[in-house]
Symmetry: C2
Subunit: 170 residues, 2 copies
């Protein structure tokens, strides 16, 4: 009950992305003759449908609500598999944890704003920066394969919270 249609969680754009990724995974697994197990299916679905930037620990917790017995190592190995075949991207934001998100399409890269107060992560795209990166790389005869751009600081929510005098913290 109570599912009013007007609300936000449904993003048709991402559905298309997800099916592309699912397909990519299937092809990869077929080619490498990898097996589809109950655990993998649960982990992959949870990852694809879940929020971005999950840690292995996060994902394990969610996955275990669906299948009690799944172990850390299986989640770890499955995420590694997803990263290998270009379905997930591993990110390290310097807090010592590895995080995973849906892989971008080749032509559609995004970067991150990271709030050092609440830990919130926001994505952004700025094609002009990507262009300049190419310029820099060319200047050094460097062939870029990937890049990482992260802006660390205080997000809007935290800065208005501290203005009001309230504490923040996640």
């Amino acid at each position: 009950m109570v599912r009013t249609m007007s609300e936000p969680s449904h993003r048709p754009v991402d559905d298309a992305l997800r099916s592309r990724l699912r397909e990519r995974l299937e092809l990869y697994m077929a080619r490498k003759k990898l097996r589809s197990t109950a655990q993998r299916r649960v982990i992959v679905e949870t990852f694809l449908e879940g929020r971005a930037h999950v840690t292995i620990e996060d994902l394990l917790e969610i996955v275990r609500t669906r299948d009690k017995g799944i172990g850390y190592a299986t989640v770890y190995r499955t995420l590694k598999l997803l990263a290998e075949c270009g379905v997930a991207s591993e990110r390290k934001f310097g807090d010592g944890l590895s995080r995973y998100e849906l892989a971008d399409d080749d032509d559609d890269h995004h970067d991150h704003l990271i709030c050092t107060s609440c830990g919130g992560i926001t994505e952004f795209e700025e094609p002009r920066i990507e262009k300049l990166q190419e310029v820099v790389a060319a200047r050094h005869n460097f062939q870029v394969t990937t890049h990482k751009l992260e802006l660390y600081g205080i997000c809007q929510a935290c800065s208005s919270a501290s203005k009001k005098g309230a504490g923040q913290r996640n």
Copy 2:
């Protein structure tokens, strides 16, 4: 300005920077009533005069040629101290190691090209990218305190080496 760290390049320009950093450290230590020990002096000098992007392990090895008995923990704690007072910057390039380099001046930030083949790290500056980062941050009402931009790929040396070796690609 471009400083390439993989080669034995000597940089007279940096002498001014080093004295500024030494002074900053002295002020900090005086203010906090920290002590100048033989170990710290060796570690700090080795760090200031050595090449950029050293790991703790690297630095320990060099330091021990000067003072056999220095322990890992002391190097670790001294680098942490240097980072605290703005003399060193800690960098993590995703290979699981922490690396340290001389801190930039406030107005003079640089970023990195990282060769995934030879591990070489080259520094670059591109003010237009910095500008655009500010634009992005403003768009999100985000107050940037620091940022990290890394381009991963194949450096010139490695790509010409593989050209000779494998004889394909152009």
